[in-house]
């Protein structure tokens, strides 16, 4: 193993490859910052470029682009509340309020540090337990995934402030409903109202851009322009190197959450089909549940933990998703599917024998993924003050820019003008929800989980001939279901317990 790592390092540290990773990170960051272009499209754009390179350089370039794009996605989520990829949605929950309260630089720095930590811990876990995890990941059948998605829905409690639980549940249901729009797997049209434009369903990007970026920009318009706004944005963007430094207390505060979220994220990422988004939601939910009463209040208002946890989990999960790819040849996510395509085009077939047949490639993939992570930190920390300057743009300019980027982002993916009308309708509805103080994050959570939840339930029911026995006959499913029930009932029981002890 040490030999392998050394071979990998040797390949990675040639000048040409270092140049590749630098170029990749740089390009990836900018591609990822544009709403609509996430890691998947960034890598897809780069694949033709890699055709002329040798496999190691190509993979290194791709991994640079990948990490760059992931970081770029968080940047747009934090700065303009426009998460272009589903993995960055949870980042916006606390990242955006933090940036709005004048700590844009710190928010970006926390995102960079925790991505790095998540990636690093993920890589170490990858080295330690590849063969073991591969077999574990296969013990998950559709019924387990279904239970996992239901468990994911309990994270909704984490996104709702006090007294908002009912609203949050309602919005989750709206999200689940939106996930059913379109042609269902048996060919029936659902909630399309006979409109063919809706038969493909609503894309994540559209919904996220409409509810976050569009609604944000529209509410900026409604708020109007005042002098204080301008000086505020002046102040917000006043980022220098000093403000990037985290104080000792802050580091202490996020250290434990980062550690926990890395492990959680990695384990979720190992499951083919769960992926980074679910990991980021679960990470956020877990940390909120574990946080002290004091810290809990800050969630959703710019809590460093609330930012660090999903960012860490997201990156650790991305690393974890390489376990099924490298050991079984199974791409667990869209990103690893593209990576698989790139590997195949080099004539490298990932699988259990890759490790034995082609150790140089195996290790250079892992080392290059890690290298991308390090370079990103070195490259992007100095860039943060400049990136954060976006906020210095006066609102009357920033608002149309956000509108333009979010509409363009959606259009450029689908080339379908009907999507823009759908987006506007959803954006206006989302604005109304915002004004009425209904949280939008649970809706997105319901939407993201809804599709997978339904697919897996459908499969489980097909396999079990329409019977729900799998909920208790399969041990892992039963365990997850039980944990879900406990998480749901804990607040109820603690309330009852409190009242009972209060009476005494």
């Amino acid at each position: 193993m040490i030999d392998g790592i050394l071979i990998g390092l040797q390949t990675a540290f040639t000048p040409i490859n270092l140049l590749m990773v630098l170029a990749g990170c740089f390009a990836g960051t900018f591609i990822g910052m544009l709403p609509g272009l996430g890691p998947v499209s960034a890598i897809a754009l780069m694949i033709p470029v890699t055709y002329g390179l040798d496999p190691a350089s190509g993979l290194i370039l791709i991994s640079g682009v990948y990490y760059g794009a992931v970081f770029g996605g968080s940047t747009s989520a934090i700065l303009i509340n426009a998460p272009g990829v589903s993995g960055a949605v949870a980042t916006a929950f606390d990242g955006y309020p933090m940036a709005q309260s004048g700590n844009a630089g710190k928010a970006l720095a926390i995102a960079a540090y925790s991505s790095f930590a998540g990636g690093t811990i993920g890589a170490i876990l990858l080295l330690l337990c590849v063969p073991f995890l591969a077999s574990v990941s296969l013990s998950f059948q559709s019924s387990e995934y279904f239970a996992l998605m239901v468990f994911g829905c309990t994270a909704v409690a984490a996104f709702s402030g006090k007294g908002q639980v009912l609203k949050a549940v309602l919005m989750t249901l709206v999200g689940l409903m939106l996930a059913t729009v379109g042609e269902d797997p048996s060919g029936a049209q659902r909630l399309t109202f006979g409109n063919p434009e809706l038969s493909d369903g609503i894309s994540f990007l559209l919904l996220s851009m409409a509810t976050f970026a569009l609604a944000e920009a529209l509410s900026m318009v409604l708020k109007g322009r005042s002098k204080s706004n301008d000086s505020e944005s002046e102040e917000m963007a006043n980022v220098n190197f000093k403000s990037l430094k985290l104080s000792r207390d802050e580091i202490k505060e996020i250290a434990m959450p980062v550690g926990r979220s890395s492990v959680l994220g990695f384990l979720v990422g190992v499951l083919p089909g769960a992926g980074a988004t679910i990991a980021s939601f679960l990470g956020y939910g877990m940390e909120r549940n574990l946080a002290s009463q004091e810290q809990k209040k800050r969630f959703g208002k710019g809590s460093p933990i609330g930012l660090a946890a999903p960012e860490t989990a997201n990156n650790a999960a991305s690393t974890g998703s390489f376990v099924p790819l490298l050991t079984l040849g199974i791409p667990g996510s869209a990103t690893t599917a593209i990576m698989l395509g790139a590997l195949l085009s080099y004539g490298v077939q990932p699988g259990p024998r890759l490790f034995i047949d082609n150790p140089a490639v195996f290790w250079s993939v892992i080392v290059s993924m890690y290298l991308g992570n390090i370079v990103l930190l070195i490259l992007n920390l100095p860039l943060i003050p400049y990136i954060a300057k976006i906020l210095q743009v006066p609102r009357q300019f920033l608002t149309p820019i956000i509108l333009f980027l979010s509409l363009m982002g959606v259009y450029l993916v689908s080339f379908n003008s009907a999507e823009l009308s759908i987006m506007l309708v959803i954006g206006v509805i989302a604005l109304v929800f915002r004004i009425l103080d209904y949280p939008l994050a649970p809706m997105l959570l319901g939407f993201i989980l809804g599709g997978m939840l339904e697919d897996n339930l459908r499969r489980a029911l097909l396999i079990w001939d329409g019977s729900y026995d799998f909920l208790w006959q399969r041990p892992i499913t039963a365990t997850i279901v039980m944990v879900t029930v406990i998480v749901l009932l804990t607040p109820v029981f603690s309330e009852i317990f409190k009242r009972a002890s209060g009476k005494r």
């Binding site: 559709s142 089909g273 079984l328 199974i330 699988g351 259990p352 697919d455 097909l462």
Partner: protein
């Protein structure tokens, strides 16, 4: 007078030149891809385009991914803008016929100009390496004992190629396919997980994907739907040699917009023939595990109509038609 004539001549010369440039669509080809980047259509179009442009047969190849409605947006776009699409070839596959039969969109291959098929991916049935199924007959026996014991995983929805190929194999084995348990997954990789995790006993997929999976030693290929054993994979048995007359080629080929001139069709046909002779192309095809299937012009058209009839019978038996 003479000057006028001259300018006329120049005009005519220029005009005919530009017409030539358009009609003889060889210096640039625009590939319209009805699905997203990285999919099967995309891989085929880009492989063909790269081979043609890198070997200098055409100057540039451009690509446009227009996904939506399972390919219907791209087809509608090609038909609506046909007069402008003088250099455009759309890539498609058997799912075109399936979706047309299922009324997912109001078009069929008769609304376009079929140019040629270039490759085929035969259907393949894959089992876990430790599966009790050794030959196809084992699957039939198990299905006869209890149809519920055979869960068939596939990488896309009901009525897709994976589903229909499985139906064809079971139907030609004289089994009642109305009870076939097809479990749809969102992607080939996830269907593979379904097989490896033990919730499905059989995986229906394309041969190119199956070979890649089998090379890792986790699964083996039970049978394929090729008419005879393939030179690239001499060890993979066919259904036909196991006395099941199920032959199915998931072709991938190219279509020009409707109303293209005969000359243009010929030019495109010649282009494809030049492609097939390229060593670069042959190497690429072998690397990807694609089989050679070249049918052009009218032959291709007849083949499509035959497949349409065959598939409509199967879909009817599955109870998927005329809902």
């Amino acid at each position: 007078m003479i000057r006028v004539k001259r300018s006329h001549l120049v005009c005519i010369a220029l005009l005919s030149l530009s017409v030539c440039g358009i009609a003889y669509g060889k210096d640039r080809v625009h590939f319209l891809i009805p699905g997203g980047a990285g999919g099967g259509w995309d891989m085929t179009a880009r492989a063909v385009g790269e081979s043609l442009s890198r070997s200098g047969i055409i100057e540039t190849a451009s690509y446009e991914n227009l996904s939506g409605g399972g390919g219907s947006r791209a087809i509608a776009h090609l038909i609506e803008t046909a007069p402008r699409q003088t250099n455009t070839l759309m890539v498609n596959s058997s799912s075109f016929i399936l979706r047309s039969l299922l009324n997912k969109f109001p078009y069929s291959h008769r609304d376009l100009t079929p140019i040629a098929s270039v490759i085929a991916d035969y259907g393949a049935f894959v089992v876990r390496i430790d599966s009790p199924y050794v030959v196809w007959q084992d699957v039939i026996d198990d299905y006869l004992k209890d149809y519920r014991r055979v869960n068939i995983a596939g990488g896309s929805s009901r009525g897709s190629t994976d589903h229909v190929v499985a139906a064809l194999a079971f139907s030609k084995s004289n089994l009642d396919i109305s009870r076939l348990k097809y479990i749809p997954y969102n992607a080939g990789g996830q269907a593979m997980v379904g097989l490896l995790s033990g919730e499905c006993q059989l995986l229906s997929t394309g041969l190119s994907e199956a070979v890649a999976l089998a090379e890792q030693g986790e699964v083996r290929i039970l049978a394929i739907t090729a008419p005879k054993r393939l030179p690239l994979f001499p060890n993979v048995p066919t259904l036909k040699e196991q006395n099941v007359d199920a032959v199915f080629a998931n072709w991938r080929g190219f279509f020009a917009p409707p109303g293209v001139s005969q000359k243009n069709v010929k030019d495109y046909g010649q282009l494809i023939e030049e492609l097939l002779a390229l060593e670069r192309w042959q190497q690429l095809r072998a690397d990807r595990g694609w089989s050679h299937l070249y049918l052009s012009g009218n032959n291709f058209n007849d083949f499509l109509s035959e497949q349409e009839v065959e598939l409509s019978i199967l879909l009817d038996e599955l109870g998927l038609l005329n809902k």
